[in-house]
């Protein structure tokens, strides 16, 4: 027996999904996360499996993110070009809140006194104006040693054009400091223009790197102690996998590695379901994350931010709103508001019985009878339904409403907010939500999905197997991915297609070799290119695929790519200006390496027991509703709403008028009926 194992290490729980190759069986489990030593939790979770049988191990780690959120990353020194040391503190000077007299930027990870400048300068054409002051770099190395810095972030102007000064400074620092101090060079982290964003990315790697490094070392040495060469893989923020060896050298890529597993699960689901476009909604206790699968691929942005710090690296585009089971409902005058404030894990919703007294979305679901107290959290938690009822009743008193009416209202307002978050993300792509199916997971997602679908005009909701551990499952379905970028600034007037062709070749070779380093055989490798384009003077760029790599240096290439850009612009924004001058900014090349997928056999369902019928409130009225265990629903089973399907990690609500069936992969498919015509 051999296992493929995926783990999603969250703040409270670690989800584990294993695939047993010979039996073609998938299993999901949950253990407590061990925040003081994440590696220990990983091995606790693996305890039940014999190590000898793991052939593939992938995990999403919050190690780097925790170091950032708790501000206990490494002590970092920034080494930068003479004259611009304050760029990191100035941080482009923008404000996120426009009506705030007391606005503060996010507190920098590196204080101003930990920034050193050295002479040495290139210009915008990549010509050296002044040589690097090597003595000054050696002085900095001395300071690093004396003052106990753990990492140095080196970011020089125009290093993305000519990295020579950064390389030289890097080797001088390593020579003086040895292996004890992590040296991070900006052109290796993000070879793109914009010095603040590049510095911010470099600092983030330096700040979180040492702790990720130590963590991966512990994991690998524990495997080695067992005498096992288990290939450890890590999920990247881009939705692709890399091996631990690479992640150790480029820890930044793992910063947001957990939640993107869900999106990659969405990609796998989109292939299985033959639905190229999916809206993935992950609703847990405090937040609601939406991401998109477009044409069977994850929606990945070339850059993003975390905690207010910009990051130049590919990130799955996750839109998060403060709407979860724990979102608080409250009155503002005579008005009802829901969220974004949350009851969090402590005290949590009133029904958790941990001292919460304010009504939350989960409490509203309890009052409506949609939460099955016997099976909530796998029966592992006693729900205090009386506390939920009294919290909702208290608020209903303030608003002059009936408690059940208010409970429905709290869910309606929450659902409307989540529906708006989805609309925002799809509108951003120039698409309407009706063109998608909705894939719901996370503990609370399947409970709300059918109602959200109705709000946005989606006719099909999909609930995967193991909705509470779906991100971990998604990791078993992801490919190895390596991304490369190269600044390539040109206008339609001066585009040198021969130079573009050479750059593409160079990047292809890099990507090809990088996949080899990941142990991907040649037949499993593929490389794709895109180029960021915009109209002259625009800032936002669109990444336009270069599918015709072989004919880039032919005469009509410019016309072809301009046309494709105009089409993309029109689709996304509803207008374009054919003939207007365009700019080319950055080449983006991605290497994909296919890894083997689980091929789970359908599970035989035990004989269905007599369905329990209980009253659940829909549209303000109690309706007799079938309560069904998911394990008893065989492939092909059908069920008319109202119904509630419960399993260990989630509850799926099928409202009246909706129809549920179980497809051949074990997905629950809910067909939504529309009573009224929606636009």
């Amino acid at each position: 027996m051999t296992y493929r194992v995926a783990m999603d290490i969250g703040g409270t729980f670690t989800d584990v999904v294993t695939y047993e190759g010979n039996a073609r069986k998938l299993r999901a489990g949950k253990v407590l996360t061990t925040p003081e030593d994440l590696a220990r939790g990983v091995f606790d979770a693996l305890h039940e499996l014999s190590f000898a049988e793991i052939e593939f191990f992938v995990h999403g780690t919050t190690q780097g993110l925790n170091a950032l959120l708790e501000r206990r990353g490494a002590k970092v020194l920034i080494l930068t070009t003479q004259g611009i040391g304050d760029v990191y503190r100035i941080a482009r000077g923008n404000r996120e809140r426009l009506f705030d007299l007391h606005y503060r930027k996010p507190a920098p990870l590196v204080p101003r006194e930990h920034i050193a400048e050295v002479a040495g300068r290139f210009d915008a054409s990549g010509t050296e104006l002044e040589p690097l002051d090597e003595d000054a770099v050696r002085q900095v190395a001395k300071r690093v040693r004396e003052q106990g810095f753990e990492a140095v972030a080196v970011c020089f102007l125009f290093a993305y054009l000519d990295p020579e000064h950064e390389r030289r400074a890097g080797s001088l620092l390593r020579e003086e400091l040895g292996e004890d101090v992590l040296v991070v060079l900006s052109h290796e982290v993000a070879p793109e223009w914009r010095e603040y964003e590049r510095t911010s990315s470099t600092v983030m790697e330096a700040y979180t790197g040492p702790s990720v490094h130590r963590y991966l070392d512990r994991i690998e040495s524990r495997f080695a102690e067992q005498g096992l060469p288990v290939p450890v893989h890590v999920m990247q923020s881009s939705g692709g996998l890399v091996n631990a060896e690479f992640a150790r050298r480029h820890p930044l890529q793992t910063l947001l590695s957990g939640p993107v597993g869900g999106t990659m699960g969405g990609v796998a689901a989109s292939n299985l379901l033959d639905r190229p476009n999916l809206i993935c909604v992950d609703m847990g206790g405090t937040s609601f994350d939406v991401s998109l699968v477009l044409d069977n691929a994850p929606d990945v942005s070339p850059d993003g931010e975390c905690e207010g710090f910009p990051l130049l690296m590919p990130l799955v585009n996750l839109h998060t709103v403060g709407a979860g089971g724990g979102s608080l409902a409250y009155a503002e005058g005579s008005a009802l508001r829901v969220g974004p404030e949350s009851a969090g894990a402590v005290p949590g919703p009133a029904c958790y019985g941990r001292g919460g007294t304010q009504a939350t979305v989960t409490d509203a679901n309890c009052v409506l009878g949609r939460v099955d107290p016997d099976s909530f959290a796998g029966g592992g938690m006693d729900l205090d339904l009386a506390a939920a009822r009294s919290a909702v009743t208290a608020l209903a008193g303030q608003l002059g409403m009936d408690p059940v009416e208010l409970a429905s209202g709290i869910c309606d307002v929450g659902n409307a907010k989540m529906a708006q978050a989805i609309r925002t993300l799809t509108v951003e792509h120039g698409l309407e939500p009706g063109e998608f199916a909705l894939l719901a997971f996370g503990g609370a997602g399947p409970m709300h999905a059918a109602f959200i679908a109705r709000e946005i005009g989606v006719t099909e909701v999909v609930v995967p197997r193991f909705p509470g551990a779906f991100s971990a499952w998604g990791m078993l379905e992801a490919d190895v991915r390596r991304d490369f970028t190269m600044q390539f600034f040109a206008t339609s007037a001066d585009l040198d297609t021969a130079a573009l062709a050479r750059s593409l070749d160079e990047l292809r070779d890099l990507a090809w070799a990088a996949l080899g380093e990941q142990g991907i055989t040649e037949d499993k490798r593929s490389v794709v290119h895109g180029i960021d384009m915009r109209y002259e003077s625009q800032d936002y760029t669109l990444t336009v695929p270069i599918l015709d790599e072989d004919t880039v240096d032919s005469a009509d290439f410019l016309a072809r790519i301009e046309e494709r850009f105009a089409e993309a612009h029109h689709r996304r924004y509803g207008h374009a200006t054919p003939g207007a001058p365009v700019q080319f900014v950055t080449i983006r090349t991605t290497g994909h390496g296919v890894v083997p997928r689980p091929e789970a056999a359908p599970e035989p369902a035990p004989p269905a027991s007599e369905p329990v019928i209980r009253d659940v409130v829909f549209d303000g009225k109690p309706c007799p509703t079938s309560i069904v265990a998911r394990a008893e629903l065989a492939v092909g089973a059908r069920l008319n709403g109202p119904a509630i399907v419960h399993e260990d990690t989630a509850t799926t609500v099928v409202p009246p008028g909706a129809e549920l069936r179980v497809d051949e992969h074990g997905f629950l498919i809910i067909a939504i009926e529309f009573e009224e015509t929606l636009v």
């Binding site: 004259g83 611009i84 304050d86 503190r89 100035i90 482009r92 000077g93 923008n94 404000r95 426009l98 009506f99 007299l101 007391h102 606005y103 930027k105 210009d123 915008a124 102007l157 125009f158 223009w193 914009r194 010095e195 603040y196 964003e197 503002e332 005058g333 005579s334 008005a335 009802l336 508001r337 829901v338 409403m401 009416e405 208010l406 429905s408 209202g409 309606d412 307002v413 409307a416 907010k417 708006q420 609309r423 925002t424 509108v427 001066d494 109209y535 002259e536 003077s537 625009q538 800032d539 936002y540 612009h569 924004y573 509803g574 207008h575 200006t577 207007a580 009224e676 929606l678 636009v679």
Partner: protein, 527 residues
């Protein structure tokens, strides 16, 4: 009709979201950084009576004056002028209140045959064909500032009018970019038409009307409650603009007199300088908007904007003053007085709400503009940068360092690597101007130093302000250091100036720009 708090809340958030969707459509597809970063734009959904249903954050100083454009159009042409799928544009300074670059694009919204509201956006177009590219710092008449449009139909029955587009195209310097921004605004208006239409189709006119009444009433009630908490009385503050950029010796007075009485507030702006010769004037609707920004910062910063907002506020402006300009007053740099006015509202009310106010910030945009021919490309170029500076301290916190000002929205500075790639200048130095924030129990934030070296001969324009009235302190805190701009510092040719219009500078010249710090709060001895 009685309406439940649930339906009201869902419609309220639906209206806000509709405005957000409009805003995103505009921002993401606009062609110029003034819009996508400067947020030099605003969007609003209006009801049939031109009241705001939902507004998305754009430039604060555009608060609540888009409706002037639809209202004026209806007054001029009658209510029958609105036709489905039409789109209009207007940029007249004396109606919209701002400079000619700010073009408001608006469309009626029909559900079936019935007019139910309007979708509108305002955005800064890069050039309107003024006598100098991008707008002049020394204009003395609106006729030097470019193409002026009263209500003009640019799309008729869903089709762009080639005659009107041709008129715009032939009058502006960068037609591709300008028409691109215009189309982004048209797409934005269509998004509003669609979203409001969906809400009407979903809930029906009667429910929307009931929800609207309740939403307006909620907002008005919240604002009234907050006003009632301020002690009744008269509050006032005065400051001075450096000059009108023509007569450099005469500062221009800006005074705000605020009366709080029960649940009402009056902001009286009548005691301000007369309409000036230089381009520092604005139409009265814009002065009203700026007064509303000051009000909102203190009274209702987190309350959503709608037809109930500002009901308890009255703003008085004197026609013929700098803040109530009449034809043909020049309006290109209309905003310096407005930034000052916002700070003065905060200053005036400081005694009444010491915990909410802050000392003054470094001022407004502090513009550095280079124009000429780029020797690398052989093409003409114009670049315009606003400079960040120090903000005022408040009770409990130091002012932020190197932050963009109130009139520039959320503009980001231009990266050095972008500036040097696109334009023939080099940035030698970009650092914090240490000690420029005012001392206090809580210190004002510091300004910045940005030093440029010319890589080619070119024309320099400057619009810097607040040397006569630098950022003042509050409750015993000290003022911030005023701004300073020096050409060729430390040489015999050194020359200090804060305003310049197309001054020829030579290759190798050095321009050192130092922005002001913010004011301190409280006695420095207690720090």
């Amino acid at each position: 009709m009685n309406i439940s708090p649930v339906t009201t809340e869902i419609i309220r958030s639906g209206l806000i979201q509709a405005a957000e969707d409009m805003n995103m459509t505009l921002i993401r597809s606009s062609y110029t950084p003034t819009i996508y970063e400067g947020k030099d734009c605003a969007v609003a959904l209006l009801d049939r009576e031109h009241r705001v249903l939902g507004q998305s954050s754009g430039l604060p100083i555009f608060l609540g004056n888009l409706e002037e454009c639809t209202r004026y159009t209806e007054e001029q042409f009658g209510a029958d002028v609105w036709e489905p799928d039409d789109v209009w544009v207007l940029n007249d300074s004396y109606i919209g209140g701002t400079h000619l670059n700010d073009c408001t694009v608006y469309a009626p919204i029909f559900v079936g045959a019935e007019l139910v509201g309007f979708a509108a956006s305002r955005a800064h177009w890069i050039d309107m064909g003024s006598k100098d590219p991008g707008g002049s710092m020394d204009s003395t008449s609106i006729y030097q500032e470019g193409l002026r449009m009263r209500p003009t139909r640019i799309v008729a029955a869903g089709v762009e009018r080639p005659d009107m587009l041709g008129l715009i195209e032939t009058n502006v310097r960068f037609p591709y970019v300008t028409l691109g921004d215009m189309r982004a605004q048209i797409a934005c208006a269509r998004m509003g038409v669609r979203r409001l239409g969906e809400l009407f189709a979903r809930y029906g006119a009667e429910t929307i009307a009931a929800a609207r009444a309740e939403i307006f009433a909620q907002t008005e009630r919240l604002e009234r409650e907050r006003l009632a908490a301020i002690p009744d009385g008269e509050y006032a503050a005065t400051g001075y603009l450096d000059n009108d950029a023509i007569d450099l010796e005469t500062p221009l007075k800006v005074t705000v007199r605020i009366t709080v009485s029960g649940e009402r507030m009056t902001i009286d702006l009548t005691d301000c300088a007369d309409q000036a010769t230089g381009p520092v004037n604005c139409g009265s609707s814009q002065a009203v908007s700026a007064a509303r920004v000051g009000y909102k910062l203190l009274i209702s910063p987190t309350v959503s904007l709608n037809g109930g907002s500002f009901v308890p506020l009255e703003v008085r402006v004197r026609e013929g003053s700098m803040l109530g300009a009449r034809e043909p007053a020049a309006c290109q740099y209309y905003y310096s007085s407005l930034g000052m006015l916002i700070d003065l509202v905060v200053k005036a009310l400081a005694p009444a709400m010491p915990e909410r106010v802050a000392a003054a910030s470094y001022g407004d945009s502090m513009i550095v503009q280079f124009a000429g021919d780029n020797p690398r490309t052989g093409e003409p170029f114009v670049t315009l940068e606003a400079t960040v500076g120090g903000w005022g301290a408040w009770q409990g916190g130091d002012g932020e360092t190197a932050l963009i000002n109130n009139v520039n929205g959320s503009l980001r500075d231009l990266p050095i690597e972008v500036v040097e790639t696109l334009y023939p200048v080099r940035v030698n130095e970009y650092r914090i101007r240490e000690g420029s924030g005012g001392a206090g129990t809580w210190r004002g934030g510091d300004g910045v130093i940005r030093e440029y070296v010319m890589e080619a001969d070119q024309d320099l324009s400057l619009w810097w302000e607040r040397s006569v009235t630098p950022a003042w302190g509050a409750f015993g805190g000290e003022s911030g250091t005023p701004p300073r701009v020096t050409l060729n510092p430390g040489t015999v040719r050194a020359r200090e100036m804060l305003k310049a219009n197309s001054l020829r500078v030579r290759k190798g010249d050095v321009l050192r720009c130092e922005s002001g710090g913010g004011g301190g709060y409280g006695d420095p001895a207690e720090r």
